[in-house]
């Protein structure tokens, strides 16, 4: 992370089309994410925010267009190289997506066991560090996912996403379902991690407070593509009806007033 320049493009999406049968989700969508920023993706329900995330991650094949992450087109990379570069990102799915048969610590150690050759002692120590970093209490390492609350599952999922010190962190609705205190703590955690680890964060969210608290830039998904990318001030100035409604609605005013 030392020599990689901040601000260079790290995710580039060009002319992306995504379809499910006859249902067109994205049409000619362009988006560039810069290294070291937190970008928030907003949009109404069904505008394909999560689909965009899944497409960038290669979980869904794009119907047209090009996606480059770290300057690499993953769809044309040889298998071995693709796997290797996939270790450079971490993903937090909506409900944590922890492996239910493993404890939290074992979940975090999955990428270590799979990709690296570390002593058990070091793996345990690192798992404990990640658990503490994600803001879980130290004893959480021995628990199984079914023994965790929703908020703890998200933090455990985050700890696993951070296992290999990724360069990009993808977060799918990280604060959905958390109480306001937990959500605010999560916002703070994301800011903190971005500062200390030099992360780029790709954040899909509905939470206006999170947008205000964390995002450097916001991309608005509507009408099947990104209609505006900019700072929160750009959003507030926009005259597009949906953006205006979203950022000037009663909930948005409340979120702004809290600032």
């Amino acid at each position: 992370m030392s020599t990689s320049r901040k601000g260079e493009p790290i995710i580039e999406v060009e002319g992306l089309d995504t379809r499910f049968g006859d249902n067109v989700v994205h049409e000619n969508l362009d988006l560039t994410v810069k290294r070291g920023e937190i970008i928030g993706i907003v949009g109404g329900s069904g505008t394909g925010k999560s689909v965009l995330l899944r497409t960038i991650l290669g979980l869904k094949r794009p119907d047209a267009g090009r996606i480059r992450v770290f300057g690499l087109d993953f769809s044309t990379l040889p298998e071995a190289e693709r796997r290797l570069n996939e270790q450079r990102w971490g993903v937090l799915f909506q409900d944590g997506a922890l492996f239910s048969a493993l404890t939290v610590a074992e979940n975090i150690q999955v990428p270590y066991r799979e990709h690296l050759d570390l002593s058990q002692e070091l793996m345990d120590e690192l798992a404990a560090v990640k658990i503490a970093m994600a803001g879980l209490r130290p004893t959480a390492g021995t628990l199984y996912p079914s023994e965790l609350s929703g908020g703890m599952r998200k933090r455990a999922g985050l700890a696993r996403a951070l296992a290999l010190d990724p360069e990009i962190l993808f977060l799918d609705e990280p604060t959905a379902g958390l109480d306001p205190i937990g959500a605010a703590a999560f916002d703070e955690l994301i800011n903190d991690l971005k500062e200390t680890l030099g992360l780029t964060v790709f954040l899909v969210t509905h939470d206006l407070d999170t947008l205000h608290a964390t995002c450097d830039r916001i991309a608005v998904l509507a009408e099947k593509h990104v209609i505006l990318v900019g700072t929160i001030d750009d959003m507030l100035r926009s005259s597009h009806p949906w953006i205006h409604e979203y950022f000037h609605g009663p909930r948005a005013r409340a979120a702004l007033a809290g600032k």
């Binding site: 030392s2 404890t103 970093m133």
Partner: protein, 390 residues
């Protein structure tokens, strides 16, 4: 590990992590160099652990990071731990050449405190076995109690429904009769037909050795009407419908639909359980009857081809071989088995807790339990009928 270097492709040259250590004037100098990222740290970590365990004469330590090209959380954790261990040994620890980013990381990791153990202390094997036995026994007792309570609740519901027949839900009753009875017909018919044929064929081959192949008819008739027709049908129905009951009710429980019913003043006993139990109790005897017939047809076909016995003779011989009660015994057992299958299936569905895994687990256990109970019940009936001489 061949590809590890390309993990840093586009970053700096990836010479692996290393360090130099030396003691001068009672000062331990640790100079870290190279790529201190998690992929390269296993060896360094082991060496550092040994080094810190016996730091020698030193009373001061200086850790230099200026030659480190890459420094991640794992590196920070190792350096931070090394510093802490040295301090425990009474050394004063200083850092040198720490960049701003490294400083941030070290501070962060340092502020997290000592890592806690992440695995539970191992339990001795004999305690694990004892614990397992105890847990299983307690679970069985709890389950027996719950099942008894559930059967009681169903009986009460049946009583209430008899007193007030308008409570009975006719539409779901008919729906479940179709699903667990009528839809099971092809499978039951095919399987019992085939088993009937197989039993006849095997029986004929064995009995021929004694010149008694005509008794093949008695074999088929008695074995099917008394036991196999019913058992086979009950096992098929337990696998088909008992599991379906558990899965349906279980997923409703999981999605809080059953709670929603209660809040709307609907009794799940009336809505879900009773129609299923009643439907199965009615359809299983009917299915058993058809299974008996199909078994006899299968056997008859084999007898026709192997023993050249005409259908007319076959039917006459069947009538001679069995009295009414041979047939009656099979049919009398059917409603009881049906009730067991339905009750176990419904009860397992209601026992589902929040997660999707629990639906799967309860479905498996409901099938296993109902087949087990069906066979136990059959044995009890056999003892009973022997005692009353039927």
């Amino acid at each position: 590990m061949a590809g590890l270097s390309s993990r840093e492709a586009g970053n700096e040259a990836a010479e692996p992590a290393s360090y130099r250590a030396g003691i001068e004037n009672r000062v331990l100098r640790l100079e870290a160099a190279g790529n201190w990222s998690i992929v390269h740290l296993n060896k360094v970590d082991g060496e550092l652990r040994r080094l810190v365990a016996s730091p020698g004469e030193a009373n001061r330590a200086v850790i230099g990071l200026s030659a480190v090209s890459r420094f991640d959380t794992a590196a920070a954790a190792i350096i931070s731990r090394t510093a802490a261990r040295l301090e425990e040994q009474g050394l004063r620890v200083e850092f040198e050449g720490v960049s701003e980013a490294q400083h941030l990381l070290l501070d962060k990791v340092g502020s997290l405190g000592e890592p806690e153990p992440v695995r539970r202390p191992p339990v001795p094997a004999y305690l694990q076995i004892l614990g397992k036995i105890g847990e299983t026994l307690l679970a069985m007792a709890a389950e027996a109690r719950a099942m008894l309570g559930f059967v009681g609740a169903v009986i009460v519901t049946v009583g209430r429904t008899i007193a007030n027949p308008r409570r009975f839900r006719l539409v779901p009753f008919v729906h479940h009769m179709e699903k667990s009875g009528f839809d099971a017909l092809p499978l039951v018919c095919l399987l019992t037909f085939l088993i009937g044929a197989v039993v006849a064929q095997q029986g004929a081959v064995q009995l021929r050795q004694f010149g008694a192949e005509v008794f093949t008819v008695n074999l088929i008739a008695i074995i099917f009407l008394r036991e196999v027709g019913l058992l086979l049908t009950a096992i098929i129905v337990a696998g088909r419908s008992g599991s379906a009951f558990t899965a349906e009710i279980g997923s409703m429980k999981m999605r809080e639909e059953i709670d929603a019913m209660r809040t709307l003043g609907l009794d799940p006993m009336d809505m879900l359980i009773l129609p299923r139990v009643a439907a199965l109790t009615v359809t299983l005897p009917l299915l058993t009857f058809i299974a008996d017939v199909m078994g006899l047809v299968g056997g008859g076909l084999v007898v026709f081809f192997m023993l050249d016995m005409s259908p007319g003779v076959y039917i006459t011989r069947v009538q001679e071989a069995v009295g009414f009660w041979t047939f009656g015994v099979g049919l009398v057992k059917a409603p009881f088995m049906a009730a067991v299958i339905a009750l176990v299936g419904c009860r397992a569905g209601l026992a589902v807790t929040g997660s999707a895994e629990s639906v799967g687990a309860m479905t498996t256990s409901s099938v296993v339990r109902s087949i087990f109970l069906v066979i136990i019940l059959d044995a009890l009936f056999a003892m009973f009928f022997t005692a009353v001489d039927i």
